[in-house]
Amino acid sequence: MSAASPAPASGPGSASGPSSARRIVGAVIHQPYIWAIVALLLLLIINLVKDPSYLGVSVNATTGNLSGNVIDILRASAPIMMIAIGMTLVIATRGIDLSVGSVMAVSGAVSMEFMNNSGGGDAGTAIMAAALALGISAVLGTVNGVLVSVVGLQPFITTLITMLAGRGLAKVITSGQNTSATNEPFRWLANGTVFGFPVIFVIGAVIVAIVAILVRRTALGLMIESIGINPRAARMAGIRPIGILISVYIVSAVLAGIAGIFSTASVMTVEVAKTGLNAEMDAILAVVIGGTSLAGGKFSLTGSVIGALLIATLDKTIVFLSIPSSATPAFKAIVIVVICLLQSQRVRALFARRRSRTTPSAPVPTRKETVSA
C-alpha cells in the first residue's frame, strides 16, 4: 500500500532472497507504527462485520472507474497524507506546523479565484492556478521558516500566528466569499482516475515517494534528525540549521498547498472558513500515531502514511456505521490514547516482563526522557 516510502532501516536494495520477506515482517513488527496497522485492520474488520462486501472494489458501470469503500478511503487519505508528510519533517526538527490547515485554505482560495477570474477551462489554466497556489504556499512556508530559524521564534507560536493570519488571508483573497470555478483538468486531479485508480492517491503516493527518496537517499534525513535531537551539536558538527529549517517549513507548506488543491478540486469550491479547518490536528495525529516523537529527532515517513490512512479510515468508518459524526473526536481520542499507551515505555516494559517469564530477557530500566512541548 505504501511501498513508496522505504523503511528507514532496511533499504529495498539490500533485501533479497526468500528470507527477506520474513525479515521485513520481522522489522515491521518492531516498528512503533505496528499498533497503527493493527488499529487499521481492526477498523476494516468492524466495517466488514457490518457489511461483508465492504472491501469489494467494482468497476462502476457508468463512469468506468474503480469504485468501493477502499477507493474512497485512499482518496480521502491523500490530503491528510500530504500534510502529515510535511508535518513529519517539521516535527523531526523539533518544530510543529499549525498553519497547514490555513495554508490549505489559501492555496485553495488562490487557485479557485484564479480560475474563476481567468475563466479558462483548459489544462494550462489549471497548471497556472496550481503553480500560483503552490508559490504562495511556499511564501507562507518561508515566513514560518525564517521566523523560526533566523529570528528564533518558537515554532508553535510562529505557526499559530500564520494559522490565524493565513485564514484571514484566504478570506481576503476571495473577499470572504466561498468561490467556485469550473475547470475540468483541475477537477480531474481530485476526482479522476488513472488505470482505474484515483489520480489524487497516485499523485499523493508519488509525492510521498519523492520526499522519501529526497530525505532517505541523501543525507537530509540524518541532518534533519541531528537538528531535532541536538541543534547546538548539529551546528557544531558543521550542519547549516537555518537552510534546513527553512526548507523543511517550505516543504511542509507546499505539501499543504497540494493538500489544499486536492480538497478544493474535489468540489471545485473553496470554503474559506471550512477548507482545511483542523487539518493540522489530523496531520499531527497521523505523525504521532506513526511513531514519530513530538520531541523531534528520529522520524518515520512510512509511519505517518499509515497514520494518515488510519485517520481517513476512522473518519469514513464513523459515517459508514451511522454514528453521528460529531462524535468522531471521541473515537479519535480513544485511538490516540490507546496507541500512545501501547507505544509507551511503561506498557512495553509490562509486555517484556510478561514475556520474560518464559524467556529470560532484559527488564527495561525506568529512564526518563526530557519531553518538550
Partner: protein
Amino acid sequence: MSTLIDRPTQGAPVTPKRSLRSRLTPNLETLPTLAAVVIFIGMVIYGEIAYGRIVQFSTISNLLINNSYLIILAVGLTFVILTGGVDLSVGAVIAISSLVGVMLANAGWNPGVVMVLMILIGSAFGIASGVLVQYFNVQPFIATLAMMFLARGLASMLSTTPERLDDDSPIRALSTEWKVVDGPKINDLITTPNVLIAALVVIVAFFVLHRTRLGRTVYAIGGSEQSALLMGLPVVRTKLLVYVISGTLAGLAAVVYTSKLGIAQNITGVGWELDAIAAVIIGGTLLTGGAGFVLGSVIGALVLGLMNVLITRDGSIPPEATTIITGGILLVFVLLQRLVVSRKRKT
C-alpha cells in the same frame, strides 16, 4: 600527577560586576510582562482618544465580567506552560463540564453539589492528561489533544441542543451584578461574584507559584526537568498536579461561564484554548517553560478582551482582517520577547 591552575587567592572572581548584573537581570525577565502592561495602557489611551468611552465604569466592568472565564483559563495554562507543557483540552472541558452541570441542575440536583461536580469533571480530565504525560510519556500536546477530542466528542454525544439553566437556578447567582458605584444611566461600576472568583484564583495562583515549594518546583521543571528530577524535587507529583490545576480551573471557568449565560452547549469553547495560550504568551510567559508570571497572563487576557472591544468600536474592520490583526498583535509580542531574550543572552 596533575597540577591544576592555582587561582590567585586575592583575585576575587569579579563579584561586584556580577551583583550589578544580577540586579539588572530580574528586570529583563519581567520586561515582557511589563511590555504587556505598557501596551495594554497604550491600547486604553488609544481607544479613549480614537473612539471614546473606554475609560468609564461600564466598559471596564464589562471587560472584567466578559473575560473572567478567560482569566481563569489563562491562570491554569500558566502553570502548565511554566513546566514546558501545554493544555489544549480546556475549551472542550468547559463544554462537557457545563453540559453535565446544567443537565444535572435541571434534573433537580443540589446546585452546590452540581457546581462542585462541574469543577471535579475538569479535574478528572486534568488527571487523565497528567497521567498520560507523566506515566506514559505521551507528549503534553498529544495527551491534551486527546482529552480535547474526548471531551468534545462526549459533549456532543450528551446533547447537541443548548441546555438552558432554569431561571431560578441558584447557579445563576454567581453572575448577579453588584453595583459598586451607581453612575449615570448604565455607566455603573459593576462586579459579579464571577469576577471576584477570578480575582481570588489569580491571588491564590500567585501565592502558590511564588511562595510555595510546589510553585518553585513548577519553575524548576520548566528550567530543566532532568535537573529537577536529579535534584530530588517531586517532579512526578508536580507535573501531574499542573494538569490537574489546569483541568480544575477549566471546570471552574465552566461554572463561571455557565452562570453568566445560563446555558450549556456542546459547541461552547471551541478555540478558547488558543485564546488562553495567546493570553499567557502575551503576558510574557515563555512557551518553553521556566519563565513567566501569572499576573502577566491576566494582562494578556485583558489585552485580548480589549482588542475585541476596540475592533468592535471601530466597526469598519472587515471580518477577514480580525484574525490577521490577532495574529499580528501576537507576532509583535513574541518578537518583543525574543528581543529581550537575546538582549539578555548578550549581557
